[in-house]
C-alpha cells in the first residue's frame, strides 16, 4: 500500500526541511536527558504560567519521575520514528503534511505527560486524539483509512469528553485542578457520593485511549495508518496515555475499590480477549495491534493491584513494550514497504535479503517473549513479583498473566520469526534491504530494549524507581518477595508452551477481520444518522409559523410552571389604575381587536399601529420618553415596510381551517396573558428589590449620564446591546438574502 503513491524528488531545501522533526526530537531527547539528573536527585521540576486565573486553572507543567520517563520515551522513540519516516515516506508527495501532524502529536503527547493541571492535561489529551485522526487518515483517498480515522477520533474524543467531566468533578471535590496538590481524594470522593461517577468517567477516558475492552476495536483498525504512525502512536506512546493517566491517578484514586475493580475487570478482559484475537489475524500489523491491545490490558491489570511492586512492574513492562513493539511495527512496515505484502502466511525467508531487519526482529521478539537478559524478561520477573503480592486476587491475576503471556509468544513467532525463516524467499526483491532509514531505527530500538534489560539494575534503575515513586502505592503492600522457584517456572513454562503452540499452529489461521465490536460500531453510526435524519424531518418543517408556534408554546409552559410567573407572584400588589392608563389601554386593546377582525389589510395595519401608539402612551405616562419615541418610530417604519410589501401579499382571506384558528387563538391569548402577568408581578413585587435602583444611583457617578435608559444600553449592559445589534445585523442581512434569492426564480414566470 505504501507503493501506491506517486514518488517525488525533492530539492535540497525540502530535503533539509524534512529533517526538522528528527532534529526537534533529538533536541527534546537531549533536553530531557540533561534535566534527568536534577529530577532524579532533587525531585520534580515545575514550570508554570498564569492561564485562566479566575477559574484557578494554570498552565502548570511538572517533570517528576513518571513525567521524565515518559518524556524520554516520547522524544527518544520519536527520534527513531522520525528517521524511519524518511525511509518509509521519503518520496511521498505529502511528506510535509505528515510532518506537521507528527510534530503536533509529539508536542501534545509531551504536554499530556508533563501537565500538572487536569484542564491542561485534557487539552493536550484531545490534541493527541486530533493529531492521531490526521495521521490515521493520512492516505485520505482510501475509504478504509477515512473510516478508521473517524472511528479513532470518535472513540477517543468521546472518551476525552467523559474524562473532562470526570476531571472537573475530581477538581471540584479536591478543591484544586493541580495534580500535585490534589492529594488522595478517595475519602472525599466516597463522602461526596461521587466516587462511582468519577471512576467511570475518568476510567472511560483511559479505556478509550488505551483501547481497553469494550473500546478496543479502533486500535486494530488504526493500522490503516502508515507504519511510522502505528509504531509511534499506536504502540509506543499515544495508546499508553490511558495507562499513563491510570498511573497518574493512582495516588489520588488508588484507594477506591471501584477504581481497582474497574481496572481489574477491564484489564483482564482486554488482556485475554485481545491475545486470543491476535491469533485470528493474518496481517502482520493487525497481529501486532491486537497484541498491543492485550499488553495494554496487562498494564491496566497490574496498576489495578495498586502496590509499590505493581507500579514498578507496570513501568518496567511499559518501557520494555514500547521498545520491542515499536521495533516490531517498524519491521512489519519495512516488509510492507519492500514487498507490498504483510500477510504472515505468505511472507517467508527474508532473513537472507534483509539481515539487519531480521536481527532487529529477533531481538525485539525475544524481549517480547521474555528471554533474559532483555528488558522483557526483567519486566516479566517484576510482573510475577507484583501479581504474587496481589492479595485476594492472586490466583486470578496471575492466571490471566500466564495465559496472556503464553498466547503472546505465538504472536512473537508469527510477527517476527516466520517472515524471516522457513521456506526460501517468498518474494523477489529488487534492492533488498538497502534503505538504511528503514533498517537502523528498528535495530536501534530493539538494541535499546536489550541495553535496558542488561542495565536494569544499574543506571536504568533510578529512572524506574523515580517513576514508580510518582505512581506511589495507595495500599502499601507487603514485601516484593524474592522470586521463588514457582514464579520462574511460570515464566519459563509459558515460554515453552507458547513456543510449542506456535510451532504446532504454524501458519494456520482463521481470518476474522470483521470483529463483532466493529459491526456494532457500524450499526451505531448508521442508527445515529438515521435518527438524526428522522429528527430533522420531524422538527424542521420549513414553516416559520410552525417554528414560532413551538417557541411560543414552550415559553408559555416554561413561564407558567417553571421559575417564571409563580416565583415572583408572591408579594405582588394590586393597585387602582389611573384614568390615563385606562384610556391608553383602551386604545391598544381596541386597535388589537380591530386588527383581528379587519376585512382589509390596510385597516389591519393601521389598527396595529394604534396598538403601538397605545403602548407608547404608557411609556410617556410612566417616565420613559426614550422608549415611547422608539416605539413610535418603529411603528412608523413598520407601516412603511408594510406599504412596500403590500402588493406582493395575497388577497386577505381565510388561510387556515377552524381548528388552526382556535389553536392559534389559544396560543396567542395565553402568551399575552402570561407575559402580562409576568410584567405586572415583576413591577409590583415587594419581595425583591428592583434593579433599577442600582442604575438610578450609579448612572451619573459611574457612567457620566443622566439618561438611565441610554446608560444601561451603552454602558452597564453594553455587552447585551452588542449581542442584540449583532442579531439585528444578521436579521437585516437575512431579509436581504431572502428577497434577493427569490428573484431569479420569479423572473422565469
Amino acid at each position: 500500500m505504501a507503493a501506491g503513491h506517486a514518488h517525488v524528488e525533492r530539492g535540497p531545501l525540502a530535503r533539509a526541511a524534512s529533517l526538522l522533526p528528527a532534529i526537534l526530537a533529538a533536541l527534546l531527547t537531549a533536553w530531557f536527558a540533561s534535566i534527568a539528573p536534577t529530577v532524579l536527585r532533587d525531585g520534580p521540576v515545575d514550570f508554570s504560567w498564569q492561564w485562566v486565573a479566575p477559574l484557578g486553572i494554570e498552565a502548570g507543567f511538572r517533570i517528576d519521575g513518571l513525567g521524565l520517563l515518559f518524556g524520554l520515551l516520547v522524544s527518544g522513540i520519536g527520534l527513531a520514528v522520525a528517521i524511519y519516516t524518511l525511509g518509509y515516506l521519503g518520496s511521498h508527495p505529502d511528506l510535509g503534511r505528515f510532518h506537521v501532524a507528527f510534530v503536533m502529536f509529539m508536542l501534545s503527547m509531551l504536554g499530556v505527560v508533563l501537565a500538572d493541571d487536569v484542564i491542561l492535561l485534557f487539552v493536550f489529551w484531545e490534541l493527541t486524539s486530533f493529531s492521531s485522526f490526521l495521521l490515521i487518515g493520512f492516505e485520505h483517498d482510501r475509504p478504509a483509512a477515512r473510516r478508521a480515522a473517524l472511528q479513532a477520533l470518535l472513540v477517543t474524543g468521546g472518551g476525552g469528553l467523559a474524562l473532562f467531566a470526570g476531571l472537573l468533578l475530581l477538581g471540584n471535590v479536591a478543591g484544586t485542578y493541580s495534580i500535585s496538590e490534589m492529594g488522595n481524594v478517595a475519602g472525599a470522593l466516597a463522602a461526596s457520593g461521587l466516587a462511582l461517577p468519577v471512576v467511570l468517567l475518568v476510567g472511560a477516558g483511559a479505556m478509550t485511549k488505551s483501547a481497553l475492552v469494550p473500546f478496543h476495536f479502533w486500535l486494530p483498525n488504526a493500522m490503516e495508518a502508515p507504519a511510522p504512525v502505528s509504531s509511534y502512536l499506536h504502540s509506543a506512546t499515544m495508546v499508553k496515555a490511558g495507562i499513563y493517566l491510570i498511573a497518574r491517578m493512582n495516588p489520588h484514586l488508588g484507594g477506591l475499590a471501584e477504581w481497582s475493580v474497574l481496572l481489574m475487570i477491564a484489564g483482564s478482559a482486554t488482556a485475554l480477549f485481545a491475545a486470543a484475537g491476535a491469533l485470528r489475524q493474518t496481517d502482520l500489523k493487525r497481529i501486532l495491534a491486537w497484541s498491543t491491545v492485550s499488553s495494554l490490558g496487562l498494564m491496566a491489570l497490574l496498576l489495578s493491584i495498586g502496590t509499590e511492586a505493581s507500579g514498578r512492574a507496570a513501568i518496567l513492562f511499559l518501557v520494555a513494550h514500547a521498545f520491542y513493539k515499536a521495533a516490531l511495527f517498524q519491521v512489519a512496515g519495512a516488509i510492507d514497504h519492500e514487498l507490498g505484502a504483510r500477510d504472515y502466511r505468505t511472507v517467508s525467508g527474508l532473513a537472507r535479503p534483509m539481515p539487519i531487519l531480521a536481527a532487529a526482529a529477533v531481538v525485539a521478539a525475544a524481549s517480547l517473549i521474555g528471554l533474559p537478559p532483555l528488558a522483557g524478561a526483567v519486566a516479566k520477573d517484576a510482573v510475577y513479583a507484583a501479581t504474587f503480592g496481589a492479595g485476594s486476587f492472586v490466583m486470578v491475576i496471575t492466571g490471566v498473566v500466564v495465559v496472556t503471556s503464553t498466547l503472546l509468544v505465538v504472536v512473537a513467532f508469527r510477527a517476527a520469526f516466520l517472515p524471516f525463516f522457513g521456506r526460501s524467499p517468498s518474494h523477489q526483491l529488487e534492492h533488498p534491504g538497502t534503505v538504511w532509514a528503514l533498517n537502523a531505527p528498528p535495530l536501534a530500538l530493539a538494541l535499546s530494549g536489550a541495553l535496558a534489560g542488561i542495565f536494569a539494575t544499574g543506571w536504568i534503575d533510578p529512572f524506574i524507581s523515580a517513576a514508580a515513586t510518582s505512581i506511589g502505592g495507595a495500599i502499601s503492600s507487603a514485601d516484593p518477595s524474592p522470586l521463588p522457584a514457582g514464579k520462574a517456572w511460570l515464566g519459563y513454562g509459558s515460554i515453552v508452551i507458547g513456543s510449542a503452540l506456535a510451532l504446532l499452529l504454524g501458519r494456520k489461521t482463521r481470518d476474522a477481520r470483521d470483529a463483532a465490536a466493529d459491526r456494532f460500531w457500524d450499526a451505531g453510526i448508521a442508527g445515529t444518522l438515521r435518527s438524526a435524519t428522522w429528527l430533522t424531518d420531524t422538527i424542521q418543517s420549513g414553516y416559520l409559523r410552525l417554528y414560532l408556534s413551538i417557541i411560543i408554546a414552550f415559553t408559555v409552559v416554561l413561564l407558567a410552571i417553571g421559575a417564571g410567573v409563580p416565583a415572583i407572584a408572591e408579594g405582588a400588589r394590586w393597585s387602582r389604575p389611573l384614568l390615563a392608563d385606562v384610556s391608553a389601554l383602551g386604545l391598544a386593546v381596541g386597535g388589537a381587536l380591530l386588527a383581528l377582525f379587519a376585512r382589509s389589510r390596510l385597516v389591519a395595519v393601521i389598527a396595529l399601529s394604534a396598538v403601538g401608539v397605545g403602548a407608547s402612551l404608557f411609556y410617556m405616562l410612566h417616565g420613559a420618553p426614550d422608549v415611547a419615541m422608539t416605539q413610535i418610530l418603529v411603528d412608523i417604519l413598520t407601516v412603511i415596510f408594510f406599504m412596500l410589501a403590500f402588493q406582493r401579499l395575497p388577497q386577505l382571506g381565510e388561510f387556515s381551517g377552524r381548528f388552526a384558528r382556535y389553536r392559534d387563538a389559544v396560543l396567542a391569548t395565553s402568551f399575552g396573558l402570561i407575559i402580562g402577568l409576568l410584567t405586572y408581578f415583576g413591577m409590583t413585587s415587594t419581595t425583591r428589590s428592583p434593579i433599577s435602583t442600582f442604575f438610578a444611583e450609579n448612572s451619573v457617578a459611574e457612567a457620566h449620564g443622566r439618561n438611565i435608559v441610554n446608560v444601561i444600553l451603552v454602558d452597564f449592559r453594553a455587552l447585551d446591546t452588542l449581542g442584540e445589534i449583532s442579531v439585528l445585523g444578521a436579521a437585516g442581512l437575512g431579509v436581504y438574502a431572502l428577497l434577493k434569492l427569490r428573484r431569479p426564480s420569479k423572473e422565469r414566470t
Binding site: P625, D626, M629, T630, L633, V634, I636, L637, I640, F641, L644, A645, Q647, R648, A703, H704, G705, R706, N707, V709, N710, V711, L713, V714, D715, A718, L719, T721, L722, I725, S726, L728, G729, A731, G732, L733, V735, Y736, L739, K740, R743
Partner: protein, 140 residues
C-alpha cells in the same frame, strides 16, 4: 408616481430629520434620545426620500452600500470596547475624557458605541427598505 407636495416637503424635511437624528444621538446620554432612536429618525428621513423620489435616487443620496453601513456600525460598536482592554479593565468598560468639551460635555467610548448602534440601525432599516422597494419596482 411622484407627488409634488411630497417631493417639495422632503427637500426640507430630510435635512431637518438628519440634523434631529444627530441631535438625538449626541444628547442621548443625558436626555431622551440615543443611537437607536437617532438611527430610526435618520432612516425615516431616507425612507421619506425614497417614497418621494424613488429608491434609485435614495440609494444615490446615501452613496454607501447600506450593508456596508450595517457592518461598519457593528465594527464601530465592537471597536469601542477594545480601549478598555489596554487599561486592564474588562471589555466594553466605559472610558471617559477627563475634561469636558465645549458643547458636547464629556466624551467617552460609550458615545462611540452609540455611534455604532446609530449606524447599524440606519444600515439595517435602509437595507430592508430599499430591498423591499426594489422588489416592488421590479414587479410593476
Amino acid at each position: 408616481v411622484t407627488s409634488l407636495i411630497l417631493t417639495t416637503a422632503t427637500r426640507l424635511l430630510l435635512p431637518i430629520l438628519l440634523m434631529f437624528s444627530l441631535f438625538l444621538l449626541l444628547r442621548g446620554h443625558n436626555e431622551p434620545g440615543g443611537g437607536f432612536t437617532g438611527g430610526l429618525v435618520a432612516a425615516s428621513g431616507f425612507a421619506l426620500y425614497a417614497l418621494a423620489r424613488g429608491v434609485g435616487a435614495a440609494r444615490r443620496l446615501v452613496r454607501a452600500d447600506t450593508r456596508i453601513i450595517t457592518v461598519a456600525g457593528l465594527a464601530t460598536a465592537l471597536t469601542s470596547g477594545i480601549p478598555a482592554l489596554f487599561t486592564g479593565r474588562p471589555f466594553l468598560t466605559g472610558l471617559w475624557s477627563p475634561a469636558g468639551f465645549p458643547g458636547a460635555g464629556k466624551v467617552g467610548t460609550p458615545l462611540m458605541f452609540d455611534v455604532g448602534v446609530y449606524l447599524l440601525v440606519i444600515g439595517i432599516t435602509l437595507t430592508i427598505l430599499f430591498t423591499l422597494a426594489e422588489e416592488q419596482q421590479w414587479k410593476s
